[in-house]
Amino acid sequence: MQAQARFFDGESGQRLDVDLAVDTAAETLRLTHPDLPMGSQYWPLDAIRALADHARTDQLVLSLRADASLDSALIRTARLTVDDADMISILTRLCPDLRRRDVERGTGRKVVTRIGLAVGAVVLMIFVILPAMANTLATLIPIEREVAYGKTVVNQMERFLGGKRVGGLACTNPAGRAALDKMTDRLTEAGDLTYDLNIAVFDHKMVNAFAAPGGQIVIMRGLIDRAKTPDEVAAVLAHEIGHVEARDTTRNALRAAGSAGSAGLLALVLGDFAGGSAVVVVAEYTLNASYTREAEAAADVFALNMLDASETDAEALATFFDSLDGIERAMPDLPVYLSSHPETIERAEAAREFAKAQGRTSPILNDEDWAALRNICKDSPEKDTAEDG
């Protein structure tokens, strides 16, 4: 069987119209042309590969398998274009690996390594670099900016909880406010605080309190309702002041902005159908949980010291934890720092231990003030009419 084909040696742009001949005995394809070195070349049939996804069905472009190749596919640079229909069918029949895609040895390992490195780098980024940056930036950020951001967060929370306007949920009963201020003053008189505290009570049944950047603290009415003594409210308040002073929320917000930047990108490019956002959510949750544990423990220590300094019974923190024990764990509006059951018990134990070593203590509010605080959401002049649920 003889035919003509176009040969390119992969070294020059010169085209050679070579004569082809299949030698079935030697299992080779012979290329002959006077300009070829020694006049001819022999291609082993089992080393011949056809280019994939070739548009022209009346044509076969052949190459030779290489053991190593600078190009991506493992083929040499020489090309042979066969147009002769008979020759195409013969070669298709005789070349055993014509359609084979050769893959370089060690490709699997390379792929696994690269995926590992990529995942490692992103994990390092989200769990180490961004948190470290957030720590540094949290101490550098000007207080006014923190306060402005904190107010935004509080307003947003208020709207989220059903407030129709800014200040719509705030409880402002004058006697109650005065009691709250008394409590705050007694807690804070012993030590200097970096931030001016701005403490609000929201008329909401949720048993919760939270801190926002720049000294913003919000206590929900539900928490005051559930507390058995004013000392319990004071304990929670001291805990939140601990968060404020440690700049926990600022740090969290910075870190969240950073990881949202990179994670958002991942979710975007991996596409939702690659489950990218699920991965991101899980990563963010794990990260948050581990941060929260550390920060909560530190805020507890801060709160205990603050209670001690103001001669308030530190056991109140423990009894408040105990009283929450009755609440179902699945309850969605449980504060984050109370949501993991075993830890709550541990933390209550720690508070009890601390309280044993305390000296003389007295209730933080007298009965009259405590009653006023419990009524802080009643007859609030500026508040929207309460919508209880």
Binding site: F8, A55, S72, T77, A148, T152, V153, L254, L270
Partner: protein
């Protein structure tokens, strides 16, 4: 000694459509991972369908290297964007908070633009890298094309020219088009032979004429309509002007392609000529868009009807009735049909718009003094670390 080569395109609708559907389904099944291989296979098809003097082009890229390059790019981008976001937050701009006041809203919009602006240089970088990768993975007669490193230089220049263009309200568009193409062309090689972009950027203004006419129609018509108190006249003028403007933009792109191709020289001897026709390209694009649009309207209309009638059964029959089962089935069927319809739309746009435009362009490109091509020698392979991973990650460059 003045042989001329005319480009010839051999691609067919059927095989390319099949290739698109198969690779798109594989992409779906592999949760998106196969898209690197999908793009590579479609490129292999289109490259191999393009011939000069009977010799096909060859695309030697692989899906694997694109995938690995993408991994590299994504890590760098994740780190970069994380730091940018944190910095923006530090300076009081936050993307992730509900704005409360107008000032905050403005700041937030500013932050979004700053984020985009922070990515823009990377996108331009990616654009150059993508072209370089495609060149490095293209061959004709076994000889590689190639492009020199210069992506950051390109990004810097492109930023400068686009800024100039924005300041002058698009008046300097030809300058940007010409200079950026020259930057890339002058760094391009075929084997050991270098390309050169000759010509003058001012010459491209001739291609802007329909854009200017369209603007004139809109402005004059608008003023006349306003002066005579006839909103109808103004409306018609703006509508006609807008359509004219779109065609004018296409005309400019085709004109620039012809001009820039006609003024490229390879190795100081081989010259090129392009005779792409705006009318033909516009015809392909408009007819193709209408066909796909009508087809999709029909498919989604039928689907909506089927879905709605199955919902009737659901509501009428109640949960305990057998009528509930077909509605769940209808839900799944609609979802599958929806995905299939999108696949068909993508495949159709490839074979009745993209491919015919490529075909028309290839068939109208001529190479003069082609004998000199015989003397060109091979160039060394270009590894190209990221294999246009940045372009994939930032979605620069479109389908092919």
């Amino acid at each position: 000694m003045s042989a001329q080569i005319q480009g010839q395109y051999f691609g067919k609708r059927g095989p390319l459509f099949r290739l698109y559907i198969v690779t798109a389904l594989l992409t779906l099944v592999t949760l998106g991972i196969y898209r690197f291989w999908a793009k590579t296979r479609i490129r292999k098809y289109i490259w191999s369908a393009t011939t000069g003097d009977g010799d096909s082009f060859e695309y030697t890229g692989t899906g694997l290297e694109k995938f690995l390059g993408f991994l590299v790019a994504i890590v760098i981008l994740a780190i970069y964007l994380g730091i940018v976001q944190m910095a923006l937050f530090f300076f009081g701009l936050n993307l992730f908070v509900d704005p409360q006041t107008q000032g905050q809203e403005l700041a937030q919009i500013g932050a979004i633009y700053l984020t985009l602006l922070a990515v823009l240089p990377l996108m331009l970088f990616a654009q150059y890298r993508a072209r370089r990768y495609k060149m490095a993975r293209s061959r004709w007669r076994g000889i590689r094309f190639g492009m020199e490193n210069g992506a950051w230089g390109f990004a810097a220049r492109a930023l400068g020219y686009y800024l100039l263009n924005a300041i002058t309200l698009g008046l300097l568009n030809p300058l940007a088009t010409f200079k950026l193409e020259k930057y890339m062309a002058d760094r391009s090689w075929y084997g050991d032979a270098q390309f050169e972009q000759t010509g003058r950027w001012q010459d491209l203004y001739a291609g802007m004429k329909h854009v200017f006419i369209a603007l004139a129609i809109m402005i004059v018509g608008g003023i006349l309509g306003f002066a005579t108190g006839s909103p109808l006249l103004a409306g018609i003028a703006i509508f006609v002007g807008y359509i004219w403007f779109l065609i004018g933009l296409l005309y400019y792109r085709v004109y620039a392609f012809n001009y820039l191709t006609g003024h490229k020289i390879l190795d100081g001897q081989v010259t090129f000529e392009a005779k792409v026709e705006t009318g033909r390209v516009a015809f392909i694009v408009i007819v193709g868009t209408i066909i796909i649009g009508v087809l999709m309207a029909v498919i989604f209309g039928v689907m909506g009807f089927v879905f709605a009638s199955s919902m009737d059964v659901f509501i009428g029959g109640g949960l305990s009735q057998p009528g509930a089962a077909p509605s769940a089935l209808a839900l799944v069927t609609s979802a599958v049909l929806y995905v299939l319809a999108l696949l068909v739309a993508g495949g159709l746009s490839l074979v009745i718009i993209t491919q015919p435009v490529i075909e028309h362009a290839v068939n109208n490109v001529y190479v003069h003094n082609a004998d000199h091509l015989n003397t060109i020698q091979q160039r060394a392979a270009d590894e190209g670390a990221d294999a246009e991973g940045f372009a994939d990650a930032l979605d620069v460059g479109g389908a092919i």
